[in-house]
Structures are given as C-alpha cells and as structure tokens.
C-alpha cells in the first residue's frame, strides 16, 4: 500500500531514465566513445589545425592564421589543377562504372547456366586490395614488358611498344580504368538489388499491353532503376574524389601534373612539404564536399522516420 501512497505522478531520480533508456545508454556508450574519439574528435581537431600554420620543419613556430590556409588555396595554381584532375577522374570513372555495371547487372539478372559462377567471379576485383590492383595494372601498363603492349602488338594495333603511363593525355584515363575495374562489382550488386525488386507483374502487364523487349526496358526497367542509379552515382563519386592508392603507386601524380588529384595534393602538401596546417585545410574542404554529397546519400537511403 505504501508504494501507492507515495506515488505522486513524478519520477524518482533513479527512474528519470527508465529501464529502456538505461539499457540504451549502456549499449550505445562503447560505440559512441569509439566514434567520438576516432571520428568526431579528429574531424574537429582537423578544423582547429587548419587555422594554424604548422610546418613540421619549424615545430616551434605555429602561428594562428585564421582562414589564411583556406584563402591561400584560391591563389594556389596547383590546388586548382588538382581539383580539375579530380573532377575529370571522378566523372570519367563514375560514368564508366554506371554504364558497365548497368550492362553487367542486366546480364546477371537473366537466368542462364553459369550465372552463379559468373557472379562469384565478379566479386574478385571487389575483394582484392587496392595496392595489389595498382601493382597489377602497373605491370599491365608496363612500357617494356606489359600485357597491354604485348596484346596490342600481337594483334597488330601498334607497331612499337608505348610508354602508356608516360603519356599525359592518357594517364588519368588509364588510372580511371583500374579504378573502374575494381568498383564495377559493387555497383553491379547494388543495381542488381534494384533490378530484382521490380515486380514481375509489371513486366507481364506490359507484355499483355504488347510492349516489346526494348519498350519494356525503356519504360519499366530504366525508371525503376533510378534510385539504384542515384545510389551508385553518389557512392562512387564519394569514393572517386577521395581516391589515393592508385595515384600513389601508378604515377605519383605524374607525369608532370597529369594525375595530380586532390588527395595526392593533400598527401604531398602534408607529408612531403610537411605543411600540416594547409594540409588540414585542404582535407577539410574535401570533407565538406563529401558531407554535401553524403547528405544526398543519406537522403537517398532515406530512413523513413
């Protein structure tokens, strides 16, 4: 009886957080601690650093320079070059990935013998490390003994071996090719899911209405794949604009500045010029661009809440 007597409609302190809230806190504390220390803190620290001029060559002089690191970027020719290279690389890669993945997913959406084997094979590029991928393509593009030269020579397309990666016009495309080769599987899997989610009776209805294969593709398949496409485009753009590994191994930004992309520029600025302040500023710009993209990304994934 006493329990009821003392009940006054307000929660005791212990019960301010109910059992559910207390369990949630208990379960979420570890992940929050981890993400706070390895994601939130670094990104904020990076913002803070970007307001200083930090050269590891002069560790004792780190003046606070406000937005100078950012404003300097506008006048930095090489920075703009790297932005242009990144844009070209991203557009070429993402378009190629989307096109190839579309074709491959349409193929794998058919029922035929060997489909399972083929889709397993397709996972291989996705699984291998980027460094190994880079090494592989470097060897394929090799000017002296590479497979690309060998193949084209044997087929009679070229008279002499070509120094592929030495050609400023081709470098970016060749790197994009290596990138595409590795990213197509993931994009295909994402597109396949959207393809499989198109209800079969939609096709049957269209068939009854006398739509040809091509009409069905244009009027049902393509529109239904739009969300999948959006997802692939945004995700792959995010991957492309931050990509680093291939540039490091294949060309180191060369020849000249032909493959001097933003991530490479940040790396050079930070770890070769040891200029941490401006490195932080640039990586912050990259992070903001990614956040803008990710906003679209999250919106597309759209948790309906």
């Amino acid at each position: 009886m006493s329990d009821i007597a003392t009940y006054s409609g307000r929660r005791s302190l212990r019960n301010r957080f109910g059992y559910e809230e207390r369990s949630a806190i208990f379960f979420l504390a570890p992940v929050m601690a981890v993400l706070m220390s390895v994601a939130v803190f670094p990104i904020l620290y990076s913002l803070y650093l970007s307001f200083f001029q930090i050269k590891l060559t002069r560790p004792n002089r780190t003046p606070f320079v406000w937005f100078q690191n950012y404003t300097d970027l506008f006048t930095n020719e090489l920075f703009w070059t790297s932005v242009r290279r990144t844009v070209v690389f991203s557009i070429v890669s993402v378009v190629a990935i989307a096109m190839i993945a579309l074709l491959v997913s349409l193929l794998l959406n058919q029922n035929f013998r060997g489909r399972r084997v083929l889709s397993t094979i397709l996972l291989v590029p996705w699984a291998i490390p980027y460094v190994a991928n880079a090494l592989m393509w470097k060897w394929i593009y090799d000017s002296g003994y590479g497979a690309l030269n060998g193949l084209l020579y044997q087929l009679g397309f070229i008279e002499d071996y070509v120094i592929w990666l030495g050609d400023q016009d081709k470098t970016l495309l060749l790197i994009a090719n290596a990138f595409v080769w590795k990213e197509v599987p993931l994009a295909t899997i994402l597109l396949l899911v959207t393809l499989k989610s198109i209800p079969a009776d939609l096709y049957q209805a269209a068939r009854v209405d006398g739509a040809s294969v091509w009409q069905r593709f244009v009027h049902i398949t393509l529109p239904s794949m739009k969300p999948g496409f959006m997802l692939v485009m945004i995700y792959e753009t995010m991957m492309a604009i931050r990509h680093f590994d291939l540039f490091f191994i294949l060309t180191e930004g060369g020849p000249g500045h032909a493959s001097h992309v933003l991530s490479w520029h940040i790396y050079v600025e930070t770890f070769r010029n040891l200029s941490f302040g401006s490195g932080a500023a640039m990586s912050y710009v990259l992070a903001l661009v990614t956040f803008a993209l990710s906003y679209l990304f999250i919106r597309t994934l759209g948790r309906k809440v």
Partner: protein, 324 residues
C-alpha cells in the same frame, strides 16, 4: 469445305513458322548471353590471370617480347624467396638476382619481411574485427529494438561518421598518434581502422536486427530476459549471417587498407602487406616476377574469402547500401 481446310493448313503453317521463329529468337538470346558472359569473364579474369602467370615466370622469360601468356618454364623461385628463406638460401646483395645485376630483376632483400607483413595484416584485421563486434553488436541492437529518446539522432550520427573521408582524418590522426608515441605500432592501425569500419558494422547489423520481428524481442523479455540477455541468448544466435558479413567486411577492409598504414608505419614491426607491396613497386630494381608473386600473395586470401562467403557478402553489401 476446301476453303476451311486451307485456312487450317495456313494456321498450322503459321504456327510452325511462329514456333520456329521463337526458337530462333531464343537461340539468339542464348548466344547473346553467352557472348556477354565470355566478355565479362575475360574482363574480370584476364588481368588477374596475367598477374598470376607472371608470378610463375623466370626473370628471363618475363622480359620476353612479346610476353609469354603462359609460363614455359614455370618457377616457384619467387615464393621460396619469400617463405623458404633458409640460411643458405637467404637473399643477400650478391645472391639476390638470377641474372646480370646491371639489368635489374632483383629479388629485394626485404622479401623475407613479407610473411611478417602478412602476419601484421592478419593481426590488425583480427583485432579490428573483434573490437567492431564488441562495440557494434550492442549498439545495433539498441538502435533496432529499443525505443529510446534520440534514436533517430544516433542513426544519423552513425551514418554521418560513415562518410568522413579517410584522408580528412590523416592529419589529426598523425599528430595525435605521434603525441601518444604510437607511431609504427600495430595499435595505431587498429585504433584508426575503427574509424573506417565501425559505422559500416553498426549499419549492417542494425539493418539485420530490424529485420528480426519485434515480437521475438518482446517474447524473450517477457520470458525473463533482461535487455542484455535478450541480445545474447536470442538475437545473437539468430544474427549469424550478418555477423559473418560484418566479420568479412571488417577483415577485408583492414587487410586492404593502405592510406592510414602508409602514414603510421615505418618498419617491419608494424608494416602491413599493402605497405610492403607499395615499397616493392617503387623500387625500380625489383624483379617484375617477384613483384607479381608478392601481389598474388596479397590477392589470394581475400579472394578465397570472397568466393567461400559470396552469399554473405552480397547480402551484407546490399543491406549496408540499401535500406531493407
């Protein structure tokens, strides 16, 4: 009478014609699918096959023009240099090349570091996997099944951390890790890899837990489980497919990671496989066939894993990318 007969004959003929045309078009369809499959298989496998083939060629063979697509005198010299390095076979400056030193084609003296680098890779990946599960499983369960205040906020928070580019973390990480004296240690990699793996882990598990019926959770709790017991005794045994997917992704991500490892490792004490590979590629004197052998070693474990667990990977990827 006769008219009707011709009519039916015509229909029959048309039927045969129609059936033949259909058979033809089905045959054409099969042919197109077959050709596309071959092209796709070639596109995916040709580069890999070339890498593997080159790994088994001798130095003399690998520099032939045009290249030998299939090794004529296959050799495992490159692999014994890495694994079989007994005392007398140890690579020294003098013994490291089979051919004229002036022509390059060396097996680098750091070849014997490769097993150690593989071991580092495995160690880092394993630790990252364990930590991911420890923090990811309870968080995913809480988000999926507990209706607490701020639940949507925590989902958005985790989604947001998922898209932070790794390169934006490099500078602050480097300064902090240097300050903590953790440069060139395994732990620096384990800690920083959490940033690129944990959000994805939580996301995949969360999707899976949300797919399990709420009533199962209610039944368990009415049956006498605390929240923690409901997770351990009911949800964990049921979520093995997603756990497997998470283990695979986390393992592969750690195994393949390059940028962060490049920043924080300096010696064989902490260097992972990708770092050693990258070092080989930048050394112009290193034998191509050795380089390819090292590449093969980096490729084999993830490829085996991917093929064995294909089902889990595909379902995990789709769950991770698309809201189920």
């Amino acid at each position: 009478m006769s008219e009707t007969r011709t009519d039916s004959a015509q229909t029959a003929a048309a039927g045969i014609d129609y059936r033949r045309r259909q058979r033809l078009s089905r045959l054409a369809q099969k042919l197109v699918i077959f050709l596309c499959s071959v092209v796709l298989a070639f596109y995916v496998l040709a580069p890999i096959s070339w890498l593997v083939s080159s790994a088994f060629q001798t130095e003399a063979e690998i520099v032939s023009v045009p290249p030998h697509w299939i090794p004529e005198n296959p050799t495992v010299k490159n692999f014994t240099a890495i694994f079989g390095a007994t005392e007398d076979e140890e690579i020294t400056y003098e013994t490291r090349s089979g051919v004229d030193p002036a022509a390059g084609g060396f097996i680098p003296s750091t070849a014997k570091d490769l097993p150690k680098a593989m071991w580092n890779s495995i160690l880092v990946a394993t630790l990252v996997v364990i930590l991911n599960l420890l923090v990811g499983v309870p968080a995913a369960y809480a988000i999926a099944k507990i209706r607490y205040w701020g639940r949507n906020g925590s989902v958005y928070f985790i989604l947001t951390t998922r898209v932070i580019p790794d390169i934006a973390l490099v500078v602050p990480f480097f300064l902090v890790i240097r300050k903590l004296g953790l440069l060139d240690t395994i732990s620096s990699l384990v800690i920083t890899y959490l940033a690129v793996t944990v959000p994805f882990t939580v996301f995949i598990l969360m999707q899976y837990f949300e797919g399990l019926p709420d009533e199962l959770d209610k039944a368990a709790r009415v049956d006498g489980c605390s929240r923690f017991q409901a997770l351990i005794r009911v949800f964990l045994p049921l979520s093995m497919p997603s756990i497997v997917a998470v283990v695979l992704f986390t393992f592969l991500t750690s195994w393949n990671e390059f940028l962060l490892a490049l920043m924080f490792t300096q010696t064989s004490a902490s260097q992972t496989l990708p770092i050693l590979l990258a070092a080989f590629t930048s050394d112009f004197t290193v034998s191509f066939s050795f380089l390819n052998a090292a590449g093969v070693l980096a490729i084999v474990p993830p490829v085996i894993v991917a093929i064995i667990f294909e089902r889990y990977i595909v379902s995990g990827l789709t769950a991770g990318a698309v809201k189920g």
